[in-house]
Amino acid sequence: MSISPQTERRIIYLVLFLAVLLPLLFPIGWRTESSPHVRMAHKLVEQSPAGSVAIVSFDYDPASMTELQPMAVAMIDHAWSKGHKVIATALWPQGPQLADQAFRALSEKYPEKQYGVDYVNLGYKVGGMVTIQAMGRSLVEVYPTDTGGTALNQIPMLAKVNTLRDIAYISSLSSGDPGIKQWVMAAHDMYNVPVTGGTTAISAPGFIPYINSQNQLIGLLGGLKAAAEYEGLIGMENGSATAKMDSQSVAHLLILIFIAIGNYKVWRNKRIKRTQDLKEEI
């Protein structure tokens, strides 16, 4: 019985849907070891002294939040546990809302953290690289107020922060452009501010060349697995990335099975054709 390509596709999609759904409902609990790039990013945050001011840039939109939002929550959790202060910025329009969601997600664990003292959301600015270069000259020129309209000189944690050079490290969580590349080219290459970041698994290979001897990028979280590794490193229990890794692992296994089935199908069709050709010759 032959199945049309369209039906074949629908069967694949249905089976994959079940493979992703079932582990979410019935967790398996597989463990993930941390990789070198994730450990580099972790070390940068770990070794920054208490009182450091860091920028976490939310350069993604809700489409990528499944992979990147757990990274944001884990990194802010780590930063707060080390006594760092966090400035949220965004080079993508939906970034500020995602930043607020991340802070809200941690408010129960860190009830003592106050807005303006321990964290602040400066919001979104269009321009990408141009904006970052301008931040290197003057932060208040780019962000005269935060998202609530409070002037920067009235925000306690920004009293000694005038330019990017006053920032201890920058973490850019990006799913495209503008994002990590722009932060590396402007903040690190021009102003020598350490840059780390996270991106989707698909985009991660493109940023690996920046992890080099010049330390253009210090570590990288690439995809959901890296987010789960980071959660493991900071000892985060019931992290959202860790919970989703079971689904990802089952889905990966299923894709391997599909590849095997696809190869079998091609081999079988070749055999049938060869048999038919032989019969015709006879």
């Binding site: 489409a63 329009p93 330019t163 452009d177 698909i202 290979p205 253009q216």
Partner: protein, 367 residues
């Protein structure tokens, strides 16, 4: 004699001890090869002392700028203006003594970023090669350029669309007009629109950004005008969808499924949505050609599209399609550039293996 000897000995000992007592020297130098926005503050001979560098504000009140316990060191003060003079004070405090020195300096703007010399030299050499090949082509020299299947198939794709009576879909990438890939896409769109006008085939161009929309409309309109088919030009076929990445992709997918274009062209900058576009187009049975310089999206296009322009082929496309000898000549310049880079990489490997770091340092300063 004896007292003279003792006196000399004491004097010598004093002379030796003076540095140990923290007699530091302070010097200010202009930071080299910059826009006059930095000064280098250097101190020496401050062993056993705590050195504090202070800077005077506009009211001539000194504020601490930097502190160190190193006997010798430097600090770079940045974000300065070349129009102002700055006052600095160095205070070196040891157990026995305290030394203070005040100096004034004004940063100087230079006329050349000497650190970028290697970058400039490479740019000049590669540009000169490109221009030389263009000149050679202008003088009639026949230069071999290999075939690019994706571009040769453009006629076939448009012909198929005309036969089926279906439109052509052209996606100029998801980046704004400041991305050179989008500009390269506009140049390809110009050629494609001209052919589509000649064949009288509908050309649909959904845009993500308003500036791209304006440019695309102008390019398509001019191409139709040049083909003498301005009457066939439909402004509503070149339209804005949305700024949102996945909203844009959803819109294009909808167009592909509803309009069933016979040929899809994805030319420009793409990110995670590349496979969504290519697979949806594949499912509709369209002939697909993609081109991008985003290296990590190329595998998805290669898997799902009939033809893929890889990296520089996207930028060479316009020259290739125009068949203008001068423009084709410039493509040979790209090859010269590649040869140059291969040689530099080999030189780098050899010099680093031999322990000579000057070669790497010469190029490393740019980054």
């Amino acid at each position: 004699m004896r007292s003279l000897g003792i006196f000399c000995l004491v004097f010598m000992l004093l002379g030796l001890a003076l540095p140990l007592m923290g007699e530091a020297s302070f010097e200010i130098k202009d930071f080299p090869h910059d826009a006059g926005t930095a000064l280098n503050l250097e101190w020496k001979g401050a062993s056993g002392s705590t050195v504090t560098i202070q800077k005077a504000d506009s009211m001539q009140v000194f504020h601490e700028l930097h502190q160190s316990t190193d006997a010798e060191g430097s600090f770079t003060d940045t974000e300065l203006s070349p129009d102002e003079t700055y006052r600095y004070r160095m205070i070196a405090v040891s157990e026995a003594d305290s030394v203070s020195q005040v100096l004034e300096a004004q940063p100087v703007e230079q006329w050349f970023y000497l650190d970028k010399l290697s970058f400039l030299l490479m740019l000049i050499v590669i540009s000169a090669a490109i221009l030389l090949y263009i000149y050679a082509a202008k003088r009639g020299k026949d230069l071999f350029v290999r075939r690019i299947n994706g571009l040769d198939s453009m006629d076939e794709a448009i012909g198929r669309a005309t036969e089926k009576g279906k439109p052509i879909l052209y996606v100029p990438g998801i980046s704004d007009l400041d991305d050179i890939q989008t500009i390269a896409s506009m140049t390809i769109l110009s050629h494609l629109a001209h052919k589509a006008a000649e064949y009288d085939t509908d050309l649909i161009v959904p845009c993500r950004f308003s500036m791209v929309l304006s440019a695309a409309r102008e390019v398509v309109r001019e191409s139709y005008l040049k083909a003498g088919r301005l009457d066939a030009y439909k402004e509503s076929n070149v339209f804005y969808l949305t700024d949102d990445q996945f909203g844009y992709v959803a819109g294009i997918d909808g167009i592909m499924v509803r309009e069933q274009p016979a040929a899809n062209f994805f030319m420009g900058s793409f990110y995670a949505e590349s496979l969504i576009l290519a697979e949806t187009g594949f499912s509709t049975g369209a002939i697909q050609t993609a081109g991008t310089a985003q290296a990590h999206q190329l595998p998805f296009f290669v898997v799902s599209c009939d033809y893929t322009l890889i990296g520089e082929e996207l930028f060479a496309a316009s020259a290739y399609l125009s068949k203008d000898p001068q423009q084709l000549g410039s493509l040979k310049g790209h090859d010269f550039g590649k040869l140059l880079i291969i040689l530099l990489i080999l030189c780098g490997i050899v010099t680093e293996s031999l322990g000579w770091s000057w070669f790497k340092d010469f190029f490393g300063k740019v980054f």
